[in-house]
């Protein structure tokens, strides 16, 4: 009995130590780019079998908290890091954190209304009104005005939002703050990853919101474009700042970034919601990888910088099939130079 027990114990300890040959990197954060990141990290592993980058999508807020605490090696976030968060990181770790844009995506308003297919048009006031709880029925005139040919039912609008701290929420509330004075006054003057939602059901992560909208009749929620497409859900056309109704797509997201691409700041923190331009989709955004300025483990540092280089070159080509917009060339060039900042 003793011998079998010790053999088992030794084997276990042996297994525990077997990890040495691989570089194991852990990241956590945004669900917004999850389809993209899971494809990238899976493909990157096929190319470099000894580098395993494990990304857990549990929301931008969780990612920022984890990378600040040091429990993960990097984070994904579509919420722009605030100055306070940057400072908190520096205070905790002793050095700063860098933001690297990876792709651009669109936050779309996906809905599940019987009889209404993919053509719903929403004005900024309509979106704000729905999420403020002011517009409560689908057949409200405010919605009907922009949709003359569509019969909207007289049912209550089931509003769905995020229940967790989310970059997608950040992008959405950033947009709402820009287009609605009411929203600024009642909920939040700037974009925020977590707010007190005036109304609605909470779903956890992009998946949760998509799931709720799919299940609930007469519901509306905000998710990243690829989630709506992968789940064959309808999403709305939104009126942009130039007055045109623009459908979210690769082209309209790319157009949204066009104005800011050349003037993007060195730390890459910029919002592209409600941009100028008649082809721009108004609720677009970059999404970032948050990587500490200093990485003590040399193999992890090399692995991450190798990944970033690959991502900026070959990885961008994989974005379009998943309906994420590749980064503008000006941004890519600037980023490649910025990789050197990781020590």
């Amino acid at each position: 009995m003793m011998n079998r027990f010790t053999t088992a114990l030794v084997t276990l300890v042996g297994l525990a130590g077997a990890a040495s040959a691989q570089t194991l990197i852990n990241g956590a954060g945004a669900t917004f780019p999850e389809p993209m990141y899971s494809k990238w990290f899976s493909d990157f592993k096929k190319l470099h079998n000894n580098i395993q980058i494990n990304y857990t999508a549990n929301g931008s807020g969780a990612g920022i908290t984890a990378v600040t605490a040091g429990t993960v090696d990097f984070a994904g976030s579509d919420a722009i890091l605030t100055d306070a968060q940057l400072k908190a990181f520096k205070d905790k770790q002793g050095f700063g954190v860098l933001c690297f844009p990876t792709v651009m995506g669109a936050v779309v308003l996906t809905y599940n209304v019987a009889g209404v297919s993919g053509d719903l048009k929403l004005t900024p006031d309509a979106v704000a009104g729905i999420y403020l709880g002011k517009i409560t029925k689908w057949n409200d005139p405010a919605l009907g005005k922009a949709n003359p040919g569509v019969t909207l039912p007289g049912k209550d609008i089931v509003v769905v939002h995020r229940s967790d701290s989310s970059g997608t929420s950040f992008i959405f509330t950033d947009y709402l703050a820009k287009v609605s004075a009411d929203w600024r006054a009642k909920v939040s003057p700037t974009g925020a990853a977590a707010v007190q939602w005036p109304t609605g059901l909470g779903g956890s992560k992009n998946e949760g919101v998509a799931g709720l909208v799919k299940q609930q009749a007469n519901s509306i929620g905000y998710v990243e474009l690829s989630f709506a497409i992968q789940n064959k859900m309808n999403y709305a056309t939104i009126q942009n700042s130039a007055g045109a109704f623009v459908k979210p797509s690769l082209e309209s997201v790319t157009a949204a970034a066009a104005a800011s691409a050349k003037t993007i700041p060195d730390d890459f923190r910029v919002s592209i919601t409600n941009p100028p331009g008649k082809d721009s989709y108004p609720i677009s955004s970059f999404t970032w990888l948050l990587i500490p300025e200093q990485i003590k483990d040399a193999s992890k540092k090399t692995a991450l910088t190798d990944f970033l280089t690959w991502m900026l070159k070959d990885g961008q080509a994989l974005a379009a099939p998943l309906t994420y917009a590749p980064l503008p060339k000006a941004v890519v060039d600037k980023e490649v130079k910025a990789i050197a900042k990781i020590k």
Partner: protein
């Protein structure tokens, strides 16, 4: 009961004694080793309570007792209050009890008084297996079976009241709701009520039943007016036990309750519970937010301790009262 009663081996080593036997060969060593284990238990528990107290410090300092009375939960302004979650936890558990107690006591009566012993044992075995089903499985059934079922069953009932439904059935119904959470919880706690109540009822002395029957009472009258009141305390104990279990349930609740951090009047509205919000927000929280979540955990812990303690006392009281089987 102890099956291998015949194997009393005298202390004569045969060949190489096993590790266990050699370790225990010294009485002092054995006592020390086991004492060490008991001490480790105490240390771990003390550490846990200490960490909870420490972690919730920031929140306790900032909000004081007002934390328990405030219904704001705003991560932006960093203003947190426990009331919506205490409310949600209590209401979902109360609803669960409302459903589970009649069913549970009813089933316990059947199993203790009416069913032939073999059938009773067999059915109790199966019901106790229900207690072993993991919470996440109940959540799975909750999302994909119960919520759609409620979406079909509840609207007609609500419509039957026309324009003036009672306050607890008012408002829109999305499936995910306090009602759904209460129903799932009731299924999860029913086995505890059934199992313990059955034990307690079986422990009631036969003479009482026979006396009642001899006086001409029907089976039901005997049970309801004599046996159950006698076992009342033990049944209450089982209810407290079930309540303690339902307060801490996390996964099944968070999957069907709707995650809405507000106090609501209607069972059809979505709500929240303490365990659910910790599960959802802990990973992304830092600073005061995190401290507030840990304080919520402390509140939940305190509630379960009190209930478990009360349960134990009540069950003990009934067990001592009746003659043992």
């Amino acid at each position: 009961m102890a099956s291998s009663a015949a194997t009393v081996t005298p202390a004569r080593p045969r060949g190489r004694a096993s590790l266990l036997q050699r370790a225990f060969s010294g009485d002092a060593l054995a006592r020390a080793l086991t004492f060490l284990a008991a001490a480790t238990l105490i240390v771990i528990t003390a550490l846990l309570v200490y960490e909870l107290w420490l972690g919730s410090g920031e929140s306790r300092a900032k909000f004081g007792f007002h934390f328990l009375a405030s219904s704001t939960w705003n991560p932006v302004t960093e203003d947190f209050g426990a009331l919506p979650f205490i409310f949600g936890t209590v209401v979902t558990s109360a609803l669960a009890l409302l459903i589970a107690v009649p069913f549970g006591v009813g089933a316990a009566i059947f199993l203790a008084e009416l069913a032939p012993p073999k059938l009773s044992d067999g059915m109790t075995f199966l019901i106790e297996l229900l207690a072993a089903v993991p919470s996440v499985i109940f959540g799975l059934i909750g999302i994909f079976v119960l919520v759609p079922a409620l979406l079909v069953i509840v609207p007609p009932i609500k419509d039957a009241f026309g324009d003036n439904p009672p306050f607890f059935l008012s408002g829109p119904f999305y499936g995910v709701s306090i009602l759904a959470a209460g129903v799932v919880l009731s299924i999860m706690i029913a086995p505890f009520i059934i199992s313990v109540s059955r034990e307690v009822l079986l422990a009631v002395p036969r003479d009482l039943r026979e006396a009642a029957l001899a006086l001409g009472a029907t089976r039901w009258e005997t049970t309801w007016q004599v046996v159950v009141p006698y076992a009342r305390r033990g049944i209450m104990g089982s209810v407290f036990l079930a309540l303690a279990r339902s307060l801490g349930e996390t996964m099944a609740v968070t999957m069907v309750v709707g995650n809405n951090p507000h106090i609501v009047r209607s069972l059809l509205a979505s709500g929240y519970s303490i365990a659910a919000i910790i599960a959802n927000e802990f990973a992304e929280a830092s600073g005061v937010h995190k401290s507030a979540l840990i304080e919520l955990g402390l509140v939940l812990f305190a509630l379960t301790i009190v209930l478990n303690g009360a349960a134990r006392l009540l069950i003990l009281a009934t067990a001592q009262k009746g003659a043992s089987r």
